[in-house]
Structure formats: structure tokens, C-alpha cells
Amino acid sequence: MFSRVGSSFYRTAAWRLALRSTLVFAAGSAAVFFVMYILVARTVRERSDSWLMGESETLKQVALNTPRDALYDRIVEEVAELASQEVSYDGNGGHLAGNTVFFAQIGDVSHPPVWVGPTDSGKFLNAIASMKISQGAPVSLRIAGWPTPFRVVAVDMRPGEGRIYLGLLDSTAAHLLRQLLAWFFLGWVIMVAFGFLITLLGLRRMLKRVDAISGTAASIRPDDLSTRVPAGQQQDEVARLARTLNNMLDRISASVNQLRTLTDSVAHDLKSPITSVRGSLEIALSLEDREQSSDLVAGAIEHLDRLSEVITTSLDLAEADGGALRLRRETVDLSELVNRVAELYAPAFADRHQHLAVKTEPSVQVAADLSLCTRMLSNLMENELRYAGARAAVSVTVAAEEETACITVEDNGPGFSTELLPRVFQRFVKGAQSEGHGLGLAFVSAVAVVHGGRAVARNVPQGGAQITVELPQTAKTGSQPRQTADSLLSSE
């Protein structure tokens, strides 16, 4: 049980990240402590070295100035004793444990060495004899039986009078340094441990949120897209991830809903005409009268034609939504096209006593799919024919504005109902009295969008509907579509 929990815990990103950052932190802080320790140790040694230098000079002067009589050894020993007491006792006369000083004067072979210091002088004298002399500067000298090395300074007397040695074992400083090292180590361990713990806990808290997000995301099923991952109030990366996921879920859910509407509408739009076609043909089959049965068959064909158009438009819209609608761009003169379409529709407007006015700027060119644009304009015209109302005045304007070509269709009819207006370009959205499939204006908008433009619908203040289609103009739309258009033209 424990090992299972444990091993899965050791595989978490929180554990790995905390471990890694702690290792880096531990190495860095150890280096800092080490440098600090070296600096302190050097300062301590310099202090004892400077005492050694000063004292050795004093002892040399005493040794030189003292006449070489029977009292010579006593006097020098006395002075050395005094000097050693300076460091061996604190200001109040208490003995400082561990601090040890030795003094030795080694002259010619006939004269025995003068010795002040610990009683086992033999070891010291042997060590001194083999030590490397660095004139005037203290060196470290290890003495057998002593835990730490002595600092020893050697000073030459007059020629033939030998050399004096002064050594100091500053146990207080060594003790201090050892303590410092211990405290540093303890501090370092505590710091590293705390650092590791804090990092681990912080990371775990954050990654637990990621876990919660992935858990929720995994639980979302295709048939219920209403669940959202916990986003919280924070503004950090994890919260952003959660919000991004939620936005994505919103879009997916919208697409799925749209798909449901689509399939529902397609089912309705396909099944109704199929039913009526089937019915017509069935009746035609049983009729004796050939003229009547032909009528029914003809009606069935008309139904099928409309059905085919609904399918084509639905598929075009679905492709346009998915960005998969392929455009065959060529240079299209919108003014010319609008005039041509208006001419086609003029008699239909006249039949309904509607007045159609066309105002176009000369030669407004766009790089567009001619067939899609023609169908778009045809849809706009059909829309006016159906909904502007009898005797309405309809105006179609083509204007070039900086980088866009605008086609504006306006009437003085009843306009869009407030309920319809915001959704007028959505698929399957149609007015209450509409007999269409609710695809016409959706197609208009889709064509505008796939060409990099847009369609805008509004009600004009003086009453009536207005639809503006904006398309990017050829001259400013970059070289790619223009080249295609040119190559199409030149190969014709």
C-alpha cells in the first residue's frame, strides 16, 4: 500500500520539480557558506600571525640585548613566558583552555636550546629541526600528538647566535571555526529542508489544480458538454489553462449544438419534400388521366430541384463554417455583376410593383469566386422580392471605400423584426411568415466571410431593412489572389 502510493508520488511532476530546484538551491547555498567560512578562517589566522610576528621581534631584541651570561637563559625564558601568558589567559587572568605557545632558541651545537612551552619538548624540537624556514613569515607546523597544526615563525639572530622560534596553537580560534562550521552546516540543512518542503507543497497545490482540470476534462462525455473545468479566481497560468479549456468547450458545445440544429433542420427539410415527392409519384401512378399525372410528376421534379438546392447550400454553409469551402478566385467587377443580376431581376420587381434602383461606382473590382458572388447577389434579390413588400422601393448600391467594396441593399419595407435582427445571418433562422429554409441570408454572410469580408444587417431609421456586404478590394488584397485571377484570365 505505502509503496504503491509512494512510487506514484515519486513520479509526480511536483516531486521531480521540487527535488531538482532543491538540489540547485542546496549546491548554491553550500558554496556561499563555504566562501564565508574561508573568509572567517583567514581573518582568524591573520590575527594570530600578526601577534606571532610582533612577539617574535620583541623576543629577538631581548635575546640580542641580553648579555650572554649565566642569567641569559633565565631572562629570555622569563620574557617568553610573559609573552605566552598574553594569549594563554584572558583579560581577567583566567586560563584560556587549549591555547598553547612555545618558544625555542636554538644556537650553536655547544649551547643547549632555550625552551619555554609544553614539557614534551623533544617532539617540538624534532619538528622544528625538519621544518622549512620561511624567514619572517609564519608557517603551519604539525606536531605529533597535537590535534591542530601550530603557527610557527622563525627569526634569525646575529650570525653564530642561532635562531629563535615562536609557535602558537590558537585553540580558541580553531574551536570558534569548528563551531562556525557546525552552525553553518546545521543552518544549511534546515534551509534546504525547508526550501524543499515549501517548493514541494506549493507545486503540489498548483499541480493538484491541473489534476482537477484533467480529471474534469476526462469526465466530459460527448452527450453532455455542459461540465466546465474549475477555473478559480487566480490569474496565473493554471487558471489561464482552465479558462482556455472552458472557452474551447464553449466553442465545441456551440458547434455540436449547431450540428444538432443542422441535422434536425436537414431531417425536416429533406423529409418534407421527399414525402411530397413520393406522394405525388404514387398518385400519378394510379391516375388514369395522363395530363393530371404529368402535372404531379412535374411538381415532383420541382420539389426535387428545390431539395437539391437546399442540400448544395447546406453543404456550402457547412464547408464555409469549417473553413473548407474552396474558392476559385478571379477578378470580378462587382459593379458589372450587380448590374447584370439587377437586370435579371428587374422584371420580377416590376411584376410586384416594386421599384428597383441600382447605383454603382464604375469598376469596383474584387478577387472573388464568381459563382458564389452571383448566388449571393441572387439571394439578396430574392430576399427583397419576398420581404420588402409590394410597392417597396429597393435600392442597390456598389461603392468602393478605401480597401473594401460595399454592396448595400436597402428597402423601405417593414424591416427586420427586433427579435430576428440579431440572428438574421444564422442558419435556419427565418421570419414568421417566411416560406424559405432560412438559408438565404446565412449564405450571403458565409460568402462575405470566406472572402475575408462581412455582412451587416440593420434597420434604417426612416423604416426598412438594410444589408451591407463588405468585400476586400482587389487592389489592396495582396498579391496572392490577384495572381490567381490574372493567371485564370490569361489562360482563357
Binding site: E309, T312, R326, V341, L344, D351, S378
Partner: protein, 224 residues
């Protein structure tokens, strides 16, 4: 005139064979590209009707193979795709044609006739067309019925000219939109009906024998 129909869908192949046979063509039909290649290489067909999606090869591939082996008969491509892709357009420029499903049989017949006309050049361009007592002068752009001039707008004249050129044959709305208004769009709107209605009001007004007829569900027919 002998045709080769290459279409893998049995229903469509049979109905095509029947429809084209009824309009006077001799029709050979097959479902596979490989069969079609063998048949076409006999060199006896005046035109080919080829579906784009065949079980054993792409329709375009078949056409390219045939062209490479010297088969020059015009090809009418049938496609179930809504927008015909660039490659097909390229073929069309080479003198062939395409149609998207579903299509009207009348339009298929008209396009085949156009293809066959194109491949047998040498027909003199006429300047006058005459159907019964209707006479139109293509140069002066005048139309007369029993000698009386009919006042027509440019659009109406173009429409009447197209109907006269196809006298005795049914033309569909899509064909009218394509040839008269240069718009190749599939539309179920009745906008062409409006124009036909106006034209009929001028051409067939107060006459005993109307020339322009509506074939419901298909299109229009100008006939004596």
C-alpha cells in the same frame, strides 16, 4: 452518333442509356474505367460521358490515358461534387464539358449536342432564324411575327434568340441563365419564368398558335 457512357452507379447508368437512346444516340455503357478504356480505344464513339468517381480509377485519369492513346472524342464529365475542381475546369478549356449531379436530361442532351457540334466544325453561322411565322434577324436584332415587328428589350431578344436556336428542343432554366445571362448557377427560383412570361406576352400575344411552351418541371420549348 455513338456514345460511350462510363458510370459505376447502375441506376444512373441505366437511366442515362435509356434517356440518350431515346434522343437518338447509340449508347454503349460500362461501369469500370478499364472496360471503358478498352471500348474507347476501338475508336467508334463520337463522344464520351464519364463519371468522375469510378471504382477502379479516377475519371480524370481515364480521360488522360485515353488522350495519351490518341482518343480525341469529346468528353462530358459528370461529377457529384458540388464545386467542380480546377482540374476539371482545365479539361473543360480543352474543349470538353462538365455537369454536376443532379442534372436535367434536357441539359445533358443539349451539352452533348454542343460538344458534337464543336467536334464537327464547318457549319455556317446563320444571320436569320425562322420558326413557323416567327423570324428573327440576328444582325439588325429585330424580331417579326407574321411580318409584324415585335418590340423587344435586349434581354428579351437574347432570350428569344436562344430559344429559336434550340427550336424543337427543351431548354432548362439553368441553360437559359447560363447562355442568356452568363450565370452558371443552380437556382430553383422562378426568375427565368418571369422573363419567359414577358416574352410570351409579346411573341404569342393574340395568336392562334403559341410558340413558347413551358414544360413543367423541366424548362421551356419553342416549337411550331
Amino acid at each position: 452518333m455513338r456514345l460511350l457512357v462510363v458510370e459505376d452507379d447502375n441506376t444512373i447508368r441505366e437511366f442515362l442509356t435509356r434517356a440518350l437512346a431515346e434522343s437518338g444516340f447509340r449508347v454503349d455503357a460500362c461501369a469500370l474505367g478499364s472496360q471503358a478504356e478498352k471500348l474507347a480505344l476501338e475508336g467508334v464513339h463520337d463522344a464520351l460521358v464519364v463519371d468522375l468517381t469510378l471504382p477502379d480509377m479516377d475519371g480524370l485519369e481515364l480521360i488522360q490515358r485515353l488522350r495519351a492513346q490518341g482518343v480525341s472524342a469529346p468528353v462530358l464529365i459528370l461529377s457529384a461534387r458540388r464545386s467542380v475542381d480546377e482540374r476539371v475546369i482545365g479539361l473543360e478549356r480543352g474543349g470538353d464539358d462538365y455537369m454536376t449531379k443532379p442534372f436535367a436530361v434536357a441539359e445533358l442532351q443539349a451539352r452533348l449536342r454542343a460538344l458534337l457540334r464543336r467536334s464537327t466544325p464547318g457549319q455556317a453561322e446563320t444571320t436569320k432564324l425562322r420558326v413557323a411565322d416567327l423570324e428573327i434577324d440576328l444582325i439588325r436584332r429585330e424580331a417579326r411575327r407574321s411580318g409584324t415587328e415585335i418590340q423587344l428589350t435586349q434581354q428579351e431578344f437574347a432570350l428569344l434568340e436562344y430559344l429559336c436556336r434550340n427550336a424543337g428542343r427543351v431548354v432548362t432554366r439553368a441553360m437559359v441563365l447560363d447562355h442568356v445571362w452568363k450565370m452558371r448557377i443552380d437556382t430553383s427560383t422562378n426568375i427565368v419564368d418571369v422573363h419567359i412570361h414577358r416574352l410570351r406576352n409579346k411573341v404569342d400575344r393574340d395568336v392562334e398558335r403559341p410558340l413558347i411552351r413551358t414544360i413543367r418541371g423541366v424548362g421551356y420549348l419553342l416549337r411550331d
